[in-house]
Symmetry: D2
Subunit: 355 residues, 4 copies
Amino acid sequence: MFNSFGRIFRFTTWGESHGPALGVVVDGCPPGIALSEADIQPWLDKRKPGQSRHTTQRREPDEVKILSGVFEGKTTGTPISMMIENVDQRSKDYGDIAEKYRPGHADYTYDAKYGFRDYRGGGRSSARETAARVAAGAVARKVIAGVGILGHVVEIGGDRVERFAAHTLGDNDFWCADPDAAKRWEVLLDSVRKSGSSVGAVVEVFASGVPAGWGSPLYAKLDGELAAAMMSINAVKGVEIGDGFAAARLRGEDNADRMRPGAGAGDPPVFDTNHAGGVMGGISTGQDVVCRIALKPTSSILTPVQTITRYGEAVEVMTKGRHDPCVGIRAVPVAEAMMACVLADAFLMHRAQVG
Amino acid sequence: MFNSFGRIFRFTTWGESHGPALGVVVDGCPPGIALSEADIQPWLDKRKPGQSRHTTQRREPDEVKILSGVFEGKTTGTPISMMIENVDQRSKDYGDIAEKYRPGHADYTYDAKYGFRDYRGGGRSSARETAARVAAGAVARKVIAGVGILGHVVEIGGDRVERFAAHTLGDNDFWCADPDAAKRWEVLLDSVRKSGSSVGAVVEVFASGVPAGWGSPLYAKLDGELAAAMMSINAVKGVEIGDGFAAARLRGEDNADRMRPGAGAGDPPVFDTNHAGGVMGGISTGQDVVCRIALKPTSSILTPVQTITRYGEAVEVMTKGRHDPCVGIRAVPVAEAMMACVLADAFLMHRAQVG
Amino acid sequence: MFNSFGRIFRFTTWGESHGPALGVVVDGCPPGIALSEADIQPWLDKRKPGQSRHTTQRREPDEVKILSGVFEGKTTGTPISMMIENVDQRSKDYGDIAEKYRPGHADYTYDAKYGFRDYRGGGRSSARETAARVAAGAVARKVIAGVGILGHVVEIGGDRVERFAAHTLGDNDFWCADPDAAKRWEVLLDSVRKSGSSVGAVVEVFASGVPAGWGSPLYAKLDGELAAAMMSINAVKGVEIGDGFAAARLRGEDNADRMRPGAGAGDPPVFDTNHAGGVMGGISTGQDVVCRIALKPTSSILTPVQTITRYGEAVEVMTKGRHDPCVGIRAVPVAEAMMACVLADAFLMHRAQVG
Amino acid sequence: MFNSFGRIFRFTTWGESHGPALGVVVDGCPPGIALSEADIQPWLDKRKPGQSRHTTQRREPDEVKILSGVFEGKTTGTPISMMIENVDQRSKDYGDIAEKYRPGHADYTYDAKYGFRDYRGGGRSSARETAARVAAGAVARKVIAGVGILGHVVEIGGDRVERFAAHTLGDNDFWCADPDAAKRWEVLLDSVRKSGSSVGAVVEVFASGVPAGWGSPLYAKLDGELAAAMMSINAVKGVEIGDGFAAARLRGEDNADRMRPGAGAGDPPVFDTNHAGGVMGGISTGQDVVCRIALKPTSSILTPVQTITRYGEAVEVMTKGRHDPCVGIRAVPVAEAMMACVLADAFLMHRAQVG
């Protein structure tokens, strides 16, 4: 129910972890935008499992096919249906969890809600669904072509980055812009993986090039939409805009983003700081839109944990299968995609109301 | 645009800080629920300005009138329109800000979006709109009568509570459940107010009595809806569910909420911990639903701050008028109301799909 | 439930026939449009009861108050709340129908759905609600200022107009553009009223000045939205676009609206005919958008009719009170308003997707 | 844009006439309903082209695949994605219409709106999209298992049926319940087809077994939703509920559906007539829900018709390709499907608000 996100730029995802395929229908995309699989595949590749020893060893090519909405290389203004086939499912890995509720997973709650569930690989609650979001996000990026969106991991297992060297992002397996932290995380994650445990992470995403004026008060505020978008990602337990929780510890005069006139006539104003994270009153200020999300440690761990069966019996469960020891890493392209979708939607909403 | 919240239990607010009135239309409320102004007024009174020296001195009786949707003391299933007249407006206090953009306020962004704005008291972006939410929340509470919702302030100006003594909540001006913290905050806020500054706060809200199964995956997940609801409140910059950002620093085995069979046959399972904050996979677990929000310090301060006018000239602005030195205090009933609305909506969605 | 209409230009109505007031919140209106009560009142006056002996004798001034969303004479882009107080209610007239189900009314169905109902004057199902739509429509007209919308009655009691003399519309009590028909209808309606009976009507509404390209396939097609809008008006049982049911009796070659190049370079094409009623594939063609609706005879008649009570007992009911012998007449401004709202919404949707 | 229909039982369609496939995502379906391709295929077969000489000779197997939302033969409460591959496209048939606007088609309006269009077979505006609706409708029928929905053609080319012999519906190629009319239509359609012309039709759909109480006033009234649903079907130009336009020619006393107590205690009331078509005040009465739609003659005819090119030049166009001489025939299963979807949605909405 309500498997759609967005108001004007609106996508609907479908599919389960171990079904034949998963996909997304993107509705409301403007016509005339150049689009092909080649625009989408790189983002899916960024999220793809099995790319380093630090993420799940499930091997999915995640090849996207566009089934509608594009003609002669351009969007037509009609729904864009995209499909990704599931290839490497190994459903037998999951036979054990058909009966046992894994703590931290949606096993118990899906059963409590629906009476039963597709238990293979977590079914609909699996993070595999996020591939569909990434495909939608790739379309969204084309809609807001002037906006750059970049995500990176800022904390793993409580160990935080100390600098932002964007050019080093691709040098490690963690979307980490601090080479020193990347080295420490490598050691940490090897240890975590070997012990069958898992760690949490904090991911930051920012968008530059967003003009002032996007965001629709009051219940489609840019920050409210971002919060909904980010919290809908698997394992996310917290969302911050700008300074976030740290703002609660500032005095008013320290939190104020002072303004100065722009350099030339007609230039937008200059802000001395960006505590607000690029959003005031739910509307973009023209500064970078900055968002951070907290991801809990992967719930699938090799340590046996006390739980119950669907019949209410006490048991222990240990989740074999192939898992990410830190889901935060592969959440980066997903968070980027969700920000792209929120911004594309805000742009179209703005254009609707203000022209 | 999009001044409505909720999918089935859906409310629409209207009104500006200094217009003749503000109000809300609550749509989708089930029929046959006993409802009168007496059910709503106490919650508005809880939020009402001017109740202690620690909140704004604007004097608004905030008397609510029900204009429709109730007949012979019961909801009829038709829209419930509620109105609150603005009484103590003093628009002249705000003449200065017609031209100057106050940092941290929506002045600049509203102008950037709409070309002009109702500057009187912040117009639509004023926190006065939250009175309408509190009225909607009072109706929501009746819809989910078995659920108890309670909010309290857990941190002001970086000073955190150390215990939760619920019975002491009413003994101070801060919705604080730690009497020692309340004493410290009193000193702190007196000092802040006298210096013309402001401080931020963290508010926690929890709901008990929510059965397992509420929440609609994927884009109407209970936690996603809560995040949207909370981030739409003025001054909120962060939202956490359960352990929130702290979960990002836990190991998988420490974050797992272990389950045991319930005491008797048919009893729901027992969880040893509630790191998840009562939500797994977007669906309630039956434990308390726990949410925390970070509120930035009030942007209206008596310290002059550098800014620009709407014509782009550099100036200083100092916000006179009557303001809350810490908006987190009066945000408590607002956050409670938003949680009530989210839960009422989740309940009706659940009933729609699952019966 | 779902007391809102529209997707971007979206209004929500509230209020019952005999409550203290009724109203509407218009959301999504663009900013900067000149708007005051003087823009709205004339349309309400056009719908107002008690203006001739051919409509209900209830005397309602229907004075509209704008409570929000307008500042210094212009819309601000925030919700426009409008309220109309009920003055002449005479609830005692309706005491009898508290227990008896009037055939053709929503009495039985509201009880069947909700368990009880506000029976005073039909409560929420009363056509009084349409005053709120007329107010919303007045705002919509301002949004699409270049579009002219005109409704007229084309048939009463099976007697059809034979010509369209627009300048004579104001010369009679029926919004009739055929002076001869108007004379016949006067005789007919006097007779109907004296006999305590009622008659049905057909109303036509057309919009000129709509550019080609408005309407969003597939489920927000312009004609689909019009059908939903019109069928939501009390007593409407049929909707036609263009030739409507008559088109079902044409051959393909007779129904084809042949096209020719426009007169000058850049001029839109010229259509020889307008069988389509200005909509092809759900999108406007640039011709007049033409819609017709069938309204059943007023269900409130002075003839006793067999029915049952809410306790299931057989009785007769005769509806005293003040009623329109032909609801089609006062439906004209309501149908105009709904067309205005549909077009304003289509315009904003178009602007969102296509720019 | 807005390629979704429904509020709680909500489907989204995608695909063009000559793309690789088309499909639908059904969201909001309750869990635990037995569902397989075998439940859906028969309805698609009913709509399938090429089944008699009276419909298009395009040969599409229209085989549906369920890609998600079903596990071990039952719906899981997650989105049900269904896909139908396009097989027999012959895009070259349509080369001519890339440049010329066919009167009565959406060629001109799509170009006017979007700047260009997928012209192959009408692209998105092709009636092929209705296969997706039929698949959604098949799911909807399972949701409201106690409701029977039946459509039949009541008029072709102005020649109307005179009786309803339900058991004869399958004996002819027209979904005609009057064997005499079926014979006449056979002659008529052979003649129409040979002359390269086309005729319009009127289709009636009714639903039996709908309990009193479904339908959500005011803007999700059952009849309003039906009107939107039906008018969204290709070629539909008119919609009637119950007596429809004929009701406009009745007196109040003749249009009143008199009520009598049900036979036994607790039985629903009995109505003497059903002028209302099973809906009062937007809510079902418990009688058959009756709807009629007018379909214009197929716009694709072999007669050359004057038109313009996309460059504005005057030309003639003659639509070769494979077409239905009377689209009304194959509209029957589509109209049934849309009624099923509207009723399933109304049922879930009712359950949400009233329990």
